[in-house]
């Protein structure tokens, strides 16, 4: 089987064909060119089996949980709690933004949803309190990418499904990098706040007020405990945990906070159907494409090519990070994982890199790509909320991006940072 499909795919992708169709047309045309139309049947069954998966079902459940939390005022309670803790610092609202993203990351698995939920609340109020809109948008974008790094994570579920690594293990491996990014962003913010003399918006909240704010967000903050506790202890599969999270959010929003009504539910489910339908069909197409990558022997030729460059694992990891960062500028994390995971991961596993370690490096790197121009969904969201241009926000984000790049390199070259938690929990 020739490698024509890959070049056709690249051409179609660059020409602007939707990724999901390029993943199918590339292999399809290539089979016609090679006169192997009998394999069309195999393409069809790969596509079906690529979607027909119980582990993958965590994706729609997490999207559902996120939608319910955002429309049910759960985000508001989290921002209020962050405000009571950090609002009094210089640059306090920026710190509140980062802490809210970190806390929300434990409930949501999507950077775009986090950027939109937190951006809508905090970008306007940051602008009112003396921050530039571009800085407010940049902090939001930089912090939102913590969402899919701290579990739960839609991107990690997709990686785990396609590459057959443990979801629980990958979730556990993401906790430390997510915290490192959050702390790094906070340190950078506090430095910028001093240099640029950002305002102090609030007086320091008393511990009584903090207690009240904590109580208000307690039910929301309990979600990650149920979720991760359930998965890591082994009570639930990740999919079951995701469905419990969705049900829990629904009960809290409908009956406890009473911020959601039954009337809103059909619209929520319709929005979830669209979002998850788009992603799941993409996963199905990705699985179809990955099958051709395997049977065509493409993996081996890429491995040979890379090893001809150098057989130094550390150097190869550096190169692959630069490559993924470049890819992340043009492609979403999900499609990039579907296309490149099956090509790259076996090379590094063959060189002795732990599959989980490579997985977390790839996921974090491509997640940061969600906030790099010219193609960055998180930048698009913050741009539309703030009214600032994507380029302006990207430029303002440079100091934060630098932090995130440093974290990518730290977790690449110090595997203990990511691997200790999964090892302690028995995943690796």
């Amino acid at each position: 089987m020739s490698l024509a499909y890959f070049w056709i795919f690249i051409f179609l992708l660059a020409s602007g064909m939707p990724v999901v169709f390029a993943l199918l047309v590339g292999p399809g045309l290539s089979l016609v060119i090679d006169g192997q139309e009998q394999f069309f049947t195999a393409l069809m069954s790969r596509l079906y089996n690529g979607i027909d998966s119980f582990p993958l079902m965590a994706v729609p459940f997490f999207i559902l949980a996120g939608e319910i939390m955002n429309s049910g005022g759960i985000t508001t309670s989290i921002v209020r709690f962050s405000q009571s803790m950090l609002g009094h610092l210089r640059g306090g609202l920026a710190q509140v933004n980062i802490l809210s993203s970190l806390l929300l990351a434990g409930l949501s698995g999507s950077a775009v949803a986090d950027a939109s939920a937190i951006g809508k609340m905090l970008i306007p109020s940051m602008a009112e309190n003396g921050y530039t809109r571009r800085f407010a948008a940049a902090v939001t974008a930089a912090a939102a990418i913590i969402g899919p790094i701290i579990p739960p994570s839609g991107i990690m579920i997709i990686y785990a499904f396609v590459m057959n690594v443990s979801v629980g293990g990958l979730f556990a491996a993401g906790i430390v990098p997510g915290l490192m990014i959050a702390v790094g962003l906070m340190i950078m913010t506090s430095y910028l706040a001093r240099v640029r003399n950002y305002p102090v918006a609030n007086r320091k909240a008393t511990w009584g007020e903090r207690g009240a704010a904590f109580k208000g967000s307690f039910l929301a903050l309990l979600t990650p405990v149920i979720l991760l506790g359930g998965i890591l202890v082994g009570v639930f599969t990740p999919t079951e945990a995701a469905s419990v999270a969705a049900a829990y959010a629904l009960v809290v929003a409908l009956f406890v906070l009473r911020t959601l009504t039954f009337k809103q539910l059909p619209a929520i489910f319709a929005a979830v159907a669209v979002q998850s339908g788009v992603i799941l069909l993409l996963v199905g197409a990705g699985v179809t494409f990955a099958w051709l990558v395997t049977v065509s022997g493409m993996g081996e030729s890429i491995a040979t090519g890379m090893l001809a460059l150098t057989d130094n694992v550390l150097l190869l990891l550096l190169l692959v990070n630069l490559f993924l960062f470049g890819v992340g500028m043009f492609l979403d994390a999900g499609p990039a994982i579907l296309i490149l995971g099956p090509v790259l991961a076996p090379v590094f596993v063959g060189l002795g890199v732990d599959p989980l370690h490579f997985a977390v490096v790839m996921c974090v790197n491509l997640t940061v790509g969600l906030a790099t121009p010219p193609m960055g969904l998180v930048l698009f969201v913050t741009s539309s909320i703030s009214g600032e241009k994507v380029e302006t926000i990207a430029w303002e984000m440079m100091p934060f991006l630098a932090i995130e790049v440093v974290v990518i390199f730290l977790i690449t070259f110090f595997p203990a940072l990511t691997m200790t938690l999964p090892r302690m929990m028995g995943f690796a």
């Binding site: 064909m17 669209v274 193609m375």
Partner: protein, 185 residues
């Protein structure tokens, strides 16, 4: 003259597709609710009644495949699928229109291939029984020809719109925007 005929064809196809795609999205939403319920029931039965259900997982999976295929025509029609438009946008408008037309024809072609293959899969499914539910696999597979059929109709509509746009650049033939927000991971 040709343009009026073309416009009528587009209008007729648009009415059909808008209705089918809209209905598909709503049914998909309902199926997702069923899917969520099935998995929750499974957990309750395992922990509360100490009884592992055999059928809930398969039912939930089928609901997910169905929901995905039901949304696919809508997503295709509304341009909700992710693409890299950066390079195409740098091309001159005329060239970009031609490129867009050729790309869409390729999509129509692959959807046609998958439609044929899905009919074959559906027919083969008549001989196999589901592992845990009392139905033939063909019932599960039936959504595939429906989904690809819907996408084919959308693909033809989009192609006609592109031709009309080429013949009459003064008017916009784009699919009317939807009020449903689109976002993804």
């Amino acid at each position: 003259m040709t343009i009026t005929v073309l416009e009528r064809m587009i209008a007729a196809l648009a009415r059909l597709n808008a209705a089918v795609c809209g209905a598909g999205r709503h049914v998909a939403a309902a199926l997702l609710a069923v899917m969520t319920f099935a998995v929750l029931v499974q957990i309750v039965f395992r922990y509360v009644f100490n009884n592992s259900l055999s059928w809930s997982e398969e039912l939930a999976k089928v609901m997910m495949v169905w929901a995905t295929m039901l949304v696919a025509p809508w997503a295709y029609r509304m341009g909700a699928n992710v693409s890299i438009d950066l390079f195409a946008e740098a091309l001159p408008a005329r060239l970009r229109a031609v490129l867009g037309f050729v790309l869409n024809l390729l999509v129509v072609w692959i959807v046609w291939i998958f439609l044929i293959e899905s009919v074959a899969l559906w027919q083969r499914g008549a001989d196999t029984l589901s592992a845990t539910l009392p139905v033939k696999m063909s019932v599960f597979y039936a959504i595939l020809p429906l989904g690809f059929g819907g996408m084919l109709a959308v693909g033809v509509e989009l192609s006609l719109r592109q031709i009309a746009q080429f013949l009459n650049p003064a008017r916009s033939y784009a699919v009317p925007a939807s009020h449903v927000p689109v976002a993804d991971a």
